[in-house]
């Protein structure tokens, strides 16, 4: 009991070391990040509870299976989990036979309009046009837009997920916004 409580207080880096020796120790990391990763996947899936639960389990299973390869490069452990989750969600969408519609709250679209410097954003026709442009973006670009505007992550968090600098993450996002503005 005391030992378990002691383990639960360890840092992520120490827990990763323990999990590399015995997979049962991964349980503390699982407890620590389950809700966060579930919410992330749930939003990306457009509020599909059952599939979110399956993909979250799959994400943690992949993390457990690959924990030996994990290297601490000074980023949060969660950014590694997010990267696995992004891949798992993309695999899920690719495996679907039918198109799945993911609804985005209107205020998030308005934020996207503002950042892309497109002025008329209250018009529903314009909003639909922007959504159409988003749907035509390649996967790597849509992932970035999703993280920034639909998951509402800051550039530091995005940079950690992709193991790039904050400035690089910012540049990548603003290039996509420029492209959206140009095509609008």
């Amino acid at each position: 009991m005391f030992k378990r409580r002691k383990i639960a207080n360890l840092s992520d880096a120490d827990l990763v070391k323990l999990a590399k020796q015995n997979h049962k120790h991964f349980g503390v990391l699982y407890d620590r990040y389950f809700e966060q990763i579930f919410k992330f996947i749930y939003k990306r899936l457009g509020r599909d509870e059952e599939n979110s639960a399956d993909i979250t389990q799959q994400t943690f299973l992949k993390a457990m299976l690959n924990i030996a390869k994990y290297e601490n490069r000074g980023y949060h452990f969660s950014s590694w989990l997010y990267r696995i989750a992004i891949n798992e969600v993309n695999l899920f969408f690719r495996s679907l036979k039918n198109e799945k519609v993911v609804e985005i709250d209107q205020h998030k679209i308005v934020n996207l309009f503002e950042e892309a410097n497109i002025e008329v954003h209250s018009n529903t026709e314009n909003q639909d046009k922007l959504i159409q442009l988003l749907n035509e973006l390649p996967q790597d670009q849509i992932d970035l837009i999703e993280l920034r505007f639909f998951q509402e992550m800051n550039f530091k968090e995005i940079a950690e997920i992709y193991s790039i600098t904050e400035a690089n993450a910012k540049m990548k996002v603003y290039r996509i916004l420029e492209k959206l503005n140009k095509n609008f």
Binding site: H23, K24, G27, Y30, D31, F34, E35, F38, K39, Y42, R47, E49, S52, A53, T56, Q57, F60, L61, M64, L65, F93, R94, L96, E99, K100, V101, V102, E103, I104, D105, Q106, H107, I109, T124, Q127, D128, I131, L134, N135
Partner: protein, 70 residues
């Protein structure tokens, strides 16, 4: 494939932590991990190496038995 659309109705309510925690199940995850990583148990007749080894051992014991009888 996935397509985005705009939700113009009310802002969607996020799931509560209790609702999310219903899906939390580390023992199931651990079981799945063990299923993937543990060595498959082959029956003896399907394990060629072990079968031949036991056959060879049997033959040696038989020869020793015959020799000791002489």
């Amino acid at each position: 494939m996935r397509k985005f659309s705009v939700n113009r109705k009310d802002k969607q309510k996020p799931l509560s932590n209790d609702e999310i925690n219903r899906y939390k199940n580390f023992s199931q995850l651990s079981h799945e991990y063990e299923q993937i990583t543990k060595r498959p148990k082959k029956p003896l007749y399907q394990n060629r190496k072990l079968f031949l080894y036991l056959l060879l051992l049997g033959l040696i014991l038989y020869i020793l038995y015959i020799e000791s009888k002489k």
